[in-house]
Amino acid sequence: MGYVIELDVYQGPFDLLLDLIAQNEVDLWDIPIATITEQYLEYLYSLQEQDLAITGEFLLMAATLIRIKSRLLLPQDPLPEESEEDQEDPRTELVEQLIRYKFFKEVAQFLDNRYAEASKHFTRGQALESLDLTPLYTNPFGDVTLEALGELYCQLLAELEKEQPLHRITGKISLPERLALVRLQLVGQPRATFSDLLRDNSAAEIVVTFLAVLELVRLGEIMLVQTESFGQIDVQPLQLEVEVRP
């Protein structure tokens, strides 16, 4: 361990390299790698002398630089199997990284300037009294019409008028039974409405029938069609593909 503190002056090896390149006034696309490597290592030694820890990234870059330098020094006698890619300038990848980093460093500078500018504008100092947070309905009536309200009211009254039974005998309705029943009801029918499938309209029956219908949808035996919210649900049996084998 010992690679702990990030260098104060430089954000990282790219930053240090860019600075060395700028100081040498050389072209980024034609870096004198030997000179730059030497100066880079010198800088790291000087840090060590000051007892400053060097982070791993700086050492990794030192290794990269030395590798590039040695590859450039190698005589150009490519082995037969070496592809063209390998003959590329070994500096290219590093230069591309440096250019990309340099761009973001400039953007960072741009952001710093924008912050300095933005921080000169002050917003309103005092909060206004607390505001009402109840929801605001942009379309409170939806698409309800007066006629629909009237009809709905009629239907509700009609339901009420239905004679209330004196006794109610409720039998337990099982899902498998209802499933079988719904299948039977749909035999030979191109379609049926959900309410066609009901017999006594009890809450329990509605729930179990609905579950049965959902199960049939899951099994791929039927599909459901509803053309408007709260409208009639149409139940349509799907054509079963029967595989016939001789």
Binding site: R124, D132, Y153
Partner: protein, 171 residues
Amino acid sequence: MTLAEAKVVVEGLIFASESPLTASEIASIMELDAALVESLVEDIRSSYEASALTIRKVGGGYQFVTKAELAPWIEKLGRPVISAPLTAASTETLAIIAYQQPVTKVEIEQIRGVRSDSAINSLLERELIKELGRKEGPGRPILYGVSDKFFTHFGLTSLEELPMKGISEWK
């Protein structure tokens, strides 16, 4: 600093201060006379006459506030905006209230056969119904009726204009 420049600084200070600023606080920041600050504030106030803002004096300090007549608009700020249609339960409940008003929650529930608290609350929030007072008798339950918004929306002047087709058969 000219008077015009001083006026702008006073204006900025009042706006940006986190608590109402007194004339003497402004005077000490700007190294001016407090009486001069007061007269500058009067100048600023009059230059805001046509705008939405004004300078109010509270507890001896000045602060920018919106004018009182804008309150109905300002109250809309920060409120969640909902554009969902009415649910079937709310529509049924609205129908019952429109035809039977004044009506209590229990009466609504007897007709619908299900609990209607959330439907009623949603209609109240949408301001489609309002409380009309309380019914005499045990528990003094709240009576509901449709709101003015209901009348305006459907262009009604009285409840007698509600469609009656089919309803006479039941009533």
